[in-house]
């Protein structure tokens, strides 16, 4: 639990620094991300067991589908709630947290919804970092992976594997990988409708 406070303090400190000083750290975030992913890889390699792969099979394939459908329904719900054209809600929901893809793709059609697509999905990533360690007290760490959407392949993978445990790490990565593979095709398809 103490580590969660450190995570929240780190996020808050970073947010305040970004808000009030706007420093240019260059690629620091990406570099740290790659270091984290490398360390996660080492950890997976150190603890790799074929039996774990067999255990994973079906859930790893069904969970991304549920995540995507649930996310689209959530986006559609917001569109209906705020009287936004349903197409924007569906495409923002289909982004599943991948803000750097969703925002620019939507912005080709609408600057305003491009900004919403970017921010909404960015907030989902931040929300996952804050909420995942807490909700796994009530729901299974595997099901809770769904809140991270496509980000579970990289940015939220460290926090999920840290709090959900090593057993969840592989499922988490595969979940994010499947969504990441689908979305570059799905989002332009929805936008073209």
């Amino acid at each position: 639990m103490r580590f969660l406070y450190l995570v929240l303090a780190s996020l808050t400190a970073g947010f305040l620094v970004g808000r009030f000083y706007s420093p240019d750290f260059g690629n620091a975030y990406e570099i740290m991300l790659y270091i984290m992913i490398f360390l996660i890889g080492v950890d997976l390699g150190l603890n790799f067991r074929v039996g774990e792969l067999r255990k994973m099979d079906r859930k790893a394939l069904t969970l991304p589908v549920k995540t995507l459908v649930g996310s689209i329904l959530g986006g559609l719900g917001v569109a209906l709630l705020l009287s936004i054209e349903p197409k924007w809600g569906v495409v923002i929901g289909a982004g599943c947290g991948w803000y750097s893809l969703t925002g620019p793709l939507i912005a080709q059609y609408s600057a305003v919804y491009g900004a919403v697509g970017f921010l909404g999905n960015l907030f989902r990533e931040v929300l996952t970092i804050i909420i995942y360690p807490v909700i796994i007290r009530w729901v299974s760490p595997e099901d809770a992976v769904s809140i991270g959407g496509a980000t579970t392949m990289d940015t939220t993978l460290p926090i999920i594997s840290r709090f959900g445990g090593r057993d969840v790490a592989l499922l988490t990565f595969v979940h994010g990988f499947i969504l990441t593979s689908i979305e570059p095709f799905l989002l332009p398809l929805i936008l073209s409708l």
């Binding site: 947010f15 975030y29 270091i35 599943c96 909404g120």
Partner: protein, 81 residues
């Protein structure tokens, strides 16, 4: 997010597997924790730098984040299989 993520991941898995085969089991917990905190800090900086124009944009984005994540979780919990 891009496919470059595979390069450090595969390097890591190969190194970890090689270390395992040599009977070495380094404790990565502290190193991983430190790297994670730094990564989260830089994510916070990135988020803080985003200029938000108007309450509507902020509120709508937060609502999208909550309902899309919530929808995914509800379906994951509600549909078995």
């Amino acid at each position: 997010m891009n496919m470059n993520i595979f390069i450090p991941l595969i390097f890591g898995v190969v190194l970890g597997y090689a270390l395992k085969n040599r009977g070495k089991q380094p404790n990565l917990e502290r190193l991983t924790g430190l790297a994670l905190l730094l990564m989260i800090f830089f994510l916070g900086v990135k988020t803080g730098k985003v200029k938000i124009n108007g309450i509507w944009l902020l509120g709508t984005s937060i609502l999208f984040a909550l309902l899309t994540a919530g929808g995914s979780l509800l379906l994951a919990l509600g549909v078995r299989g």
